[in-house]
């Protein structure tokens, strides 16, 4: 699982909706094992305002073709430039980075919560959890029906539950408002990635229900491999780097006021 910096080839690009794209990046050399929840750090070329690399979660790993798929939401110059890349283009990537989620045990019932583009790491996590024979549930939150993407793909790895802020698809409200939390038979583990307020709310819920919970943070990063110390979050053991000690943390280790 050595880190490397190299050019991957863009072999597939799929636009999912107005602002989400799947990019499939192929390595010439075989991929070593990548954990669900790890991320890659991409150099954006030819953009005048992107000086630093841009981090993206590993959405899927296709070992058969040595490919990594990332899900990119366009929010600024870097992501707009990235999704403009054409098939065959070389993309300069540092990977794999970060720790990744801890996999569930056989027969455990787990809830994978993704909010917005925070759904990205949950595809690979869902697949590997299913392969580990856990019972996988996805809870995907979005603003509106048009922002709900990849539902069929998630269904291949588990059952899918949806919320939208405006109620246009699934349950109206935020993910924590979903009735799945009030079911009697609870979850063994919750995994969550999404906007900070959402992760806080989920963590609070998990704590109240005494469910083991991991969250994947998206702190601003300069290097992505543990040398700049810019991406820290407060933990019981002091400041830790989200890029190396994370991005995945167990909420019991974080100093969140929940």
């Amino acid at each position: 699982m050595n880190k490397k910096v190299c050019d991957l080839i863009l072999t597939k690009k799929t636009q999912l909706n107005h602002d989400n794209y799947l990019l499939e990046l192929q390595s010439k050399e075989p991929l070593s094992a990548i954990n669900p929840g790890q991320f890659v750090n991409v150099l954006i070329k030819d953009a005048s305002s992107t000086f630093l690399r841009r981090p993206f979660s590993v959405h899927e790993v296709i070992y058969a073709t040595n490919s990594i798929v990332i899900l990119v939401k366009t929010v600024g110059e870097g992501t707009y430039k990235l999704v403009e890349a054409e098939l065959g283009d070389k993309i300069d990537v540092v990977f794999p980075l970060g720790n990744g989620f801890s996999l569930p045990k056989k027969d455990e019932k787990i809830l994978l919560i993704g909010g917005g583009v925070g759904i990205a790491p949950m595809m690979q996590m869902g697949r590997e959890s299913k392969e580990a024979r856990a019972e996988v549930h996805f809870l995907l939150g979005a603003r509106s029906a048009k922002d709900q993407i990849l539902i069929d793909e998630f269904k291949q790895h588990g059952s899918v539950h949806l919320t939208t802020n405006d109620g246009s698809m699934g349950v109206e409200g935020f993910v924590i408002h979903h009735p799945i939390f009030s079911k009697k038979e609870g979850f063994d583990r919750i995994y969550c990635c999404g906007p900070d307020p959402m992760m806080h709310a989920v963590a609070k819920k998990a704590k109240a229900l005494s469910i083991d919970c991991e969250v994947s943070l998206e702190n601003m990063m300069a290097c992505g491999f543990g040398v700049c110390l810019c991406c820290v979050t407060k933990t019981n053991e002091g400041n830790k780097c989200v890029c190396t000690d994370g991005p995945v943390f167990n909420i019991k280790d974080l100093e969140w006021q929940i």
């Binding site: 880190k3 702190n219 601003m220 300069a222 040398v227 110390l229 991406c231």
Partner: protein, 303 residues
């Protein structure tokens, strides 16, 4: 093949490329990417006598051709360094330099005395220019008398190579460098980061928890280059130049301006192999220009 060797006081560098403190971790983070021993030297991340948590998140903001940081010297203190970091870095077959920081002169001295005991550390870089700590740090580097005093006191307890790293946030950098040289510095390194600031217009909030932070990267290169040129003319000890070096051409420019060696900082974040690439680029430059000894170009700006 050109001879890339340069000398900084007693340090023999196999090539003029070092890495800048705070941008290269403890070197080991780069083992996956490069052979660290192929560099002229590495500067370890800023160390203090006691453990420091550093500043709160957010500590970073991207800026045009650069970045602001407000790390605030997060490190586990010198005991941890000696026990857990030193054993890993002494293996490198290159010059490993410790970046020494203090809030008081006593702290600088106590820390230096500890580092002095480590056989495989042949030099310290006295950082009197960190803009990101409240006490000490930059206050030493922006005032002549304070810079003189800390240099003088640390010199008394340290006989190996002492590099002093100065603050660019001053009116006349050559004046301070001269003062420091006078107090026994074996070399000076510059520049540290420039004090800057970033604001999010939408939320109306500063982008750094500390409001201000240190600017690094190509944005500062023209100012850094000017300072290196001015300092190199003013003092006799070797100058180590840095500030926005992204490629071999940048490195050559600093050497022409008078730097004996260079440090690569922020560029390491963008390309973890960059320092080695710069060594190769300097070699190519030497070949193309028929330079047998790279040290021949130091200060050779044609006017």
């Amino acid at each position: 093949m050109a001879d890339l060797k340069v000398k900084i006081h007693k340090l023999e560098l196999k090539n003029p490329v070092m890495t800048a403190s705070g941008t290269f971790g403890n070197g080991v983070e780069f083992d996956d990417f490069i052979n660290v021993s192929d560099l002229g030297g590495i500067l370890l991340k800023g160390t203090t006598l006691h453990h420091r948590e550093g500043n709160d998140y957010p500590r970073m903001a991207e800026t045009p051709s650069g970045m602001l940081n407000a790390v605030g010297l997060q490190n586990k203190g010198v005991d941890y360094f000696c026990e857990s970091i030193y054993p890993n870095v002494r293996k490198y077959n290159t010059n490993v330099v410790v970046n020494v920081n203090g809030s008081t002169i006593e702290e600088y001295i106590a820390l230096t005395e500890r580092i002095n005991e480590l056989d495989d550390i042949d030099a310290i870089e006295l950082n009197i220019s960190c803009p990101n700590v409240k006490e000490g740090g930059m206050a030493f580097g922006t005032s002549c008398p304070m810079a003189e005093q800390v240099t003088k006191e640390v010199r008394k307890v340290y006989n190996k190579t002492m590099i002093v790293k100065l603050s660019p946030n001053v009116t006349n950098i050559a004046e301070i460098d001269k003062a420091v040289e006078f107090q026994g510095a074996d070399s000076v390194s510059l520049v540290n980061t420039f004090l800057g600031m970033a604001i999010d217009a939408e939320s109306r909030k500063p982008l750094l928890s500390t409001i201000t932070g240190g600017l690094s990267g190509p944005a500062i290169k023209p100012i850094a280059l000017r300072m290196v040129w001015q300092v190199a003319q003013a003092i006799k000890v070797p100058v180590i130049g840095m500030g926005g070096i992204m490629n071999a051409t940048d490195a050559i420019e600093f050497m022409l301006a008078g730097a004996t060696a260079v440090q690569i900082g922020t560029a390491n974040f963008i390309d973890p192999k960059i320092a080695i690439k710069i060594v190769k680029g300097i070699e190519e430059y030497a070949q193309r220009h028929n330079i047998h000894q790279i040290s021949d170009i130091i200060g050779e700006l044609q006017m």
